[in-house]
Structure formats: C-alpha cells, structure tokens
Amino acid sequence: MKPAAFEMVRPADAPEAGRALAAGDGAVKVMAGGQSLGPMLNLRLARPERLLDITALPGLSDCRETASHVEIGAAVTHARIEDGDCPEPIAGMLRHVAGGIAYRAVRNRGTIGGSLCHADPAADWVTALTALGAGVVATDGTGATREIPMPAFMLGAYRTALRPDEIVTAIRIPRHSPAARWGYHKICRKVGEFADAIGAFVADPETRICRAVFGSTGGAPLLLPDLAAHAARTGSPAGLTTVKTALEHSGLSLSAVKIHQLAVAHRRAVEEALADV
C-alpha cells in the first residue's frame, strides 16, 4: 500500500542532517537508498513524519584511498561496489559480498551506510565489515566526527551506537596485504533472501591478523578469535563439534538448527579462503 504521508527533506550537509534527526525524536528518519526502509514504509510498519534523504550530501558517494585504508562514502550503492567502482582493501571480498546482497535492482539503490545503520542482524555488511576490522565514521550535529570500530557499532537487532544527532558518513576499511585470504559464505533459503547464517573469515599472514565472524545470530555479529586462530595456524577450519561447542558457549540464545547452520557457514568460509593451503 501507499506509505503514510511524510515530508521529504534534503539536508545541505551532514551536521544539518544530524540536527534534524535529533530534533525529530524518532519521528524523523534518514533515508539512504530506502531499500530496507521502503518496504517498512509501504507496510506502514514505519510511519515517520519526515525523511532525510542524505544520498546527495557532499562526499557521501565518494570512495577514497589512503596508504593504510580504503574509505567508502556511506551513500555508495552496493551495485557500485559489486562492479569494482571502489578500491579494494582486500582482493575481491567487497565485490563478492556486495554482489550477494538482495537483487541487482535493490543493489542499484541500496547503500552501504544505509545497510549498516539499519542494523539488520541478517544483513551482509555488518558481518563482512566486522571481519575486515572496519570502522564507521559518524558526524554529529556540530560537525564533530568520530570513528566507531565495527564490534562496538551494532548493539543488537536494529540498534546501533549512533547518538541521536549522528549520521554515518563513511566506512574506513584497513588495507590488507596481497597475501591476505578471505572467505564469505551465507546460507539462504533462496538467493537474495535474508541469510539464515553467515560465516566470514579473513586472515592476513603479513599483519598476523585473523578474524572469524558469525552473522545472522539475531543480534550483532559474533567474533570468535579462537576459531580464527585455529584456522590461521593449521590452514583448515576447526571441527564442526568444536565450532558448535564454541557457539553454544557464546552466551547467545541460538537454536540447535541455527548453531548447525552457523557452524557449516564458518567451515565453508574457511575452506573457501584456504582451499589450496
């Protein structure tokens, strides 16, 4: 159905958007592509009085590189990342992840920052960017910026560490060495659907950093460093029973089916990363 009536505002810059957001006390929402918010608007589950379209804000559609990082503007679409329009902090991973998000018509409008801020536990970027050790750059109503490391960004389903007057302007991803390996596997009932389980694995022999991340847990992605270390040391995933035990003791409320799916997704991600080791 048609959404409930709303006003559409295009703020001039990020601080203005932040102030408008804070002033709305929940009745104002940011729209950064609207591919998750749109369905909620049409179902009238979300009935904001005003929407802030931030896709045209200066710099939000840019990709930048530094010696140590790749910085992707919050309003860069998944399709642009899929097509290799942004520099790669690790060969091929962002493109692979972007190409697996929903459907191409959705990827043409959905944005990386929008996806992060929506904070759906089954979404791809929250898990993939946690595995890459990324940080989220947020700007508040005064123009002050801070960088929030991914593990501290998503607090739970649809909840983030953003303050009421903050919007995300960019994502900073550390560059990995050419020797780095990655694997990303998600289990979905149908291509493009919300994932039932996501396994992400990144290992960089040069920096000696490795991460194993479990996504679609019902809340924020789960990092299990011991499993990552096992894979980095041995070149193969820990046994299914070991992985399941680790998930059972993670403190999260996960069903037996979910634990199995997550364990299999982890194994496949590690195997994909280290297939020829």
Binding site: K2, P3, A4, A5, E7, G26, K29, G34, Q35, G38, P39, L41, L43, R44, L45, L51, E82, D83, G84, A91, G92, R95, A102, R104, A105, N108, P121, P149, A152, G156, A157, Y158, R159, W182, K190, V191, G192, F194, A203, P205, R208, I209, C210, T217, G219, A220, L223, A228, A229, A232, R233, T234, G235, G251, L252, S253, S255, K258, A273, V277
Partner: protein, 377 residues
C-alpha cells in the same frame, strides 16, 4: 504537500504533481497511465514492478517520487529503438517465456540488464540474476532460454555486453600459516538470557532475572497492574476493572513504530506468588494484531533481600507486523527490554521513578511482552 517532478519516461518529457510518499510505480500507473508496470508485493521482493531508471533496473515500489526528479525512466511500454529489447521480446515469445504475463514487464527489465552486464551468461548466472523476479507460471525454463538465446545471437555477431563488470581478482596464490596476534579487545556480545522457541505457531520467550528487593515487595508491585505498568517501557494502563484491564503500549524497533491498544484479564495467586495475564490488541494504523499470555512467578533470590523473577511469554502476531516476526531477532531484544523493565522495577521499588519510556525502543514482538505485562498487572 505535493511537489511537481520532472522526468523523461520512454523518451517523453513528463511532469507529475505528487506527494513525497508517491511511489515511482504510482507515478507511472496513476499519473502517466502507464499500467504495464505491475505492483504486487510492494516490498521489493517480487520484482514485478522493476523498471529502468537512468539505465539501471530499480524497484518502482520502493523508489519514491522525490528520487525520480530529473530521472530517465524506461517502462515496458518504452525501450523504443533498443534492438536488444526487441530481440528479448521476440525471444520471450518464441521460448514461451511467459504464461499469465504478470511478471513479464519486470522480467524483461531484468533480462535487459543481464544482457547488458554479461557477455556470455550461463544458465546458473541467469538463474542467479533472476532470483529477484518471481514467476509462478513458467518455472523459468523459457525465460532462461530466451535470455541465453539473445546473448548467443549477439555473441555470434561478435557483439559484447555494454557494461560488463571487471573480473573479480583472484586470491593470493600462497598462504603461509601463522600464529595470529592476540585479538583486539572487543566488547563481549550482549548475552541473551532469554530462551526463545516456536511452539505450535506461537513464539515463546522464557527469561529469569533478579531484582534487588525481597519477594514480598516485588510481588506487591507485580500483583497490582497500576504499580507495575509504569515500569513497562512505552506502556500506558488506561483502566482496571476487577480482573479486566485496558491499556496501550507504544513500541519502537528500529524504524518500526506501533501503538497497540487492547484489553485483557489477569489473575494472581498470592500464596504461590504466581500470576498470569492474557491480552489482545491491535495497531489500527499498521493493521497488525497480537494476542499473548504472560506467566510470571516471583521466588526468593540468593539472599533474603533479592528476588528471582521468572517470566514466560507466549504470543502470536497477525497482519503486517507478522512479516517481520523473525523469532531469532527476539532474544536480543527481549534481553534489552527486560533489562530496562528490571531496572525500572528496581528504581520504582527503591522509591524512584521509571526512566522515561520515550527513550526506549521496544521490539515488535516484544511489545507483546510489555503489553502483556502492562496489561496484566
């Protein structure tokens, strides 16, 4: 409230005066009489409404008017002078790639995009790319064959895709096993103490928590709906009459907001310090309904000054919100809400006031928890 937007549709300059909430599909169908664009799910899932915007396929159901100002749109009525689309139409016909035809306008838009992006798409690629366009007649066999046919014709003629994505670089060749550095300190995941299960179609959430007050004091709070309702984030108790009550609860969960009004009954057993609430209510604006039963029991804690509260909530949601009823999301949110509730109970029992509810965001399914609670007591 309405704005006039300009757009180029099928090669013609158009204007439409529409409110910001107008979907692109509505602009096309109701303002420009281009009814070939079909609306079905309106959630971006089925693909029937897919049209070309600035040369790329988009969902016209979740693309709103303001975003289309100045855009170039091609619908199924257009694509004039595009030989590739002519071939696709012809191939769809030859390969029986449609039966009822409802999905076809969106299917052709996606097909056009596949041919533009892939030089030589194999069946697996085409099926993967078509996953966002639902066809319930053909089984996709004819559609896949038609797209392969058109790509094949172009290949035979030495043509290439118009916008191929560069190949994804290969992974590094060598990998040296290594001893990782100690991991960065990361916040421990918020442990979910709630146990969530699906029992006979109802979602059941069980949770225990501790309050820093003796059982008789906690029970006195719980058994009186008027005293416990303010502890429930977003809840308002409107009236209590015998064992019946009326009330409402406002929930906020991400962008989702709902206000459920309803009624129910409650009963308390002062000897066992157990009680139960049954309630039902609806969110009229959002067209969702919920019914639930909440059982609670207060027992002594580890020492005389504390209490152990055990809660079992059983609920079902119907209507729009049910589409977001993903039980796995419940656990973390229940924990969050119950932590707020427990903190509010502690504050009220200590003679203070509950935190302002407007700061709290409450889970859709949870709302039932709250509601049940607020109602109940």
């Amino acid at each position: 409230m309405s704005d006039t937007i300009r757009l180029t549709v099928n090669g013609e300059d158009c204007t439409a005066t529409v409110p910001p909430r107008a979907q692109l599909a509505e602009v096309l169908r109701d303002h420009l009489d281009l009814t070939g664009t079909h609306l079905a799910c309106e959630q971006g899932v089925c693909g029937a409404c897919t049209v070309m915007m600035n040369g790329k396929p988009v969902r016209s159901c979740i693309t709103y008017a303001h975003a289309c100002d100045g855009a170039v749109i091609e619908t199924i009525e257009g694509h004039r002078g595009d030989p590739v689309m002519d071939r696709l139409r012809d191939a769809f016909s030859r390969h029986h790639a449609l039966q009822c035809g409802f999905c076809t306008p969106g299917m052709l838009a996606t097909a056009r995009d596949i041919v533009a992006r892939f030089d030589d798409p194999d069946e697996a690629t085409i099926r993967h790319e078509l996953s966002g366009n639902l066809c319930r007649c053909t089984g996709y066999v004819g559609i896949v064959a038609a797209i392969r046919d058109v790509a094949g014709q172009r290949r035979t003629e030495g043509g290439r895709a118009e916008r191929p994505a560069p190949a994804i670089p290969a992974r590094s060749r060598s990998f040296t096993r290594f001893d990782p550095l100690p991991p960065e300190a990361t916040p421990a995941p918020a442990a979910a103490a709630a146990r969530v299960s699906d029992e006979g179609g109802a979602t059941v959430v069980r949770r225990d928590f501790t309050l820093n007050h003796p059982p008789e004091t906690v029970w006195a709070l719980f058994r009186d709906p008027r005293s416990v309702a303010p502890c429930i984030p977003g809840a308002t108790l409107e009236s209590v009459d015998g064992d019946r009550f009326q009330g409402s609860v406002e929930i906020r969960f991400g962008p989702i907001r709902a206000r459920f009004g309803g009624h129910g009954t409650f009963r308390n057993d002062d000897t066992t310090r157990e009680g139960a609430i049954s309630g039902q209510g609806d969110d009229k604006l959002g067209k969702s309904r919920v019914r639930g039963d909440l059982g609670y029991a207060i027992a002594p804690g580890t020492d005389a000054a504390t209490s152990q509260v055990r809660v079992e909530l059983r609920f079902g949601i119907e209507g729009m919100l049910a589409q977001f009823n993903r039980p796995e999301l419940v656990a973390g949110f229940v924990d969050y809400i119950l932590a707020q509730f427990a903190a509010n109970c502690d504050a009220v029992l200590a003679g203070g006031a509950a935190a302002p509810a407007r700061r709290l965001s409450v889970f859709a399914m949870l709302w039932a928890v709250l509601k049940a609670r607020l109602k109940g007591r």
